[in-house]
Amino acid sequence: MAAAETVNTSSSMTSAGLPHRVRRRRECRFCREKVDLIDYKDVETLKAFTPERGRIMPRRLSGVCAPHQRMLTRAIKRARNMALLPYVTD
């Protein structure tokens, strides 16, 4: 009984003894909105994934699924080429 309790508490703690943050995995934004095509001319959408410096936001931050991230990356690069998005911002 006591042993089971110890296991329980340790599993909800990190090694530093801090409680784990409960984070629910959200579905990819494009999957939720059922987006089949990410257009390079849709600057407003692309801008949401290029924070201040103009770099492409990594999947681990945006939560976008792999197929959509590929589409997004391609679209951002095309948009940059056509001067719709900046390559660099300082």
Binding site: N81, M82, A83, Y87
Partner: protein, 136 residues
């Protein structure tokens, strides 16, 4: 027939008349090489995200056309050589569009299947509920 999308940026120093003339030229060229133009859209003057050739603005023009692929090389060359064009891009879009269509159809089929399943489930449960009431 393959579908293509062409987007190019015209130099802002061009007058409206010159810009229109250039667009006409491109349209004519596309027609001459045996491709069929489907849409032409002048997206208007836009601020460029960065400086190109010391200008910060440009007129964006979008065209869609259908062809078999051989006309692209010459069109691409002309756009590259032209002084009026700051940037251009030609994309083959038929396969992407097909994929989009496929996804749409798949979703519709799935929705229809789900609706059917829900309907039969409801019918079955409705019958069961009635039977239970009769027993009472």
């Amino acid at each position: 027939m393959r579908k293509y999308e062409l987007l190019f940026i015209l130099r802002p120093t061009l007058s409206d008349h010159e810009a229109a003339a250039f667009i006409e030229q491109v349209k004519e060229h596309i027609g001459n090489v045996g491709a069929t133009l489907t849409t032409v859209q002048n997206l208007g003057r836009r601020h460029l995200a960065y400086e190109i050739d010391h200008v910060r603005e440009g007129t964006y023009v979008l065209m869609h056309f259908e062809g078999n692929g051989v006309e692209i090389a010459e069109l691409d060359r002309r756009l590259r050589v032209s002084d009026a064009v700051l940037r251009h891009i030609i994309l083959r879009i038929d396969e992407e569009l097909k994929r989009v269509e496929r996804m749409k159809r798949r979703r519709q089929r799935k929705a229809a299947r789900r609706a059917r399943a829900a309907a039969t489930r409801q019918a079955r449960e409705g019958a069961k509920g009635k039977a239970g009431e009769e027993e009472k």
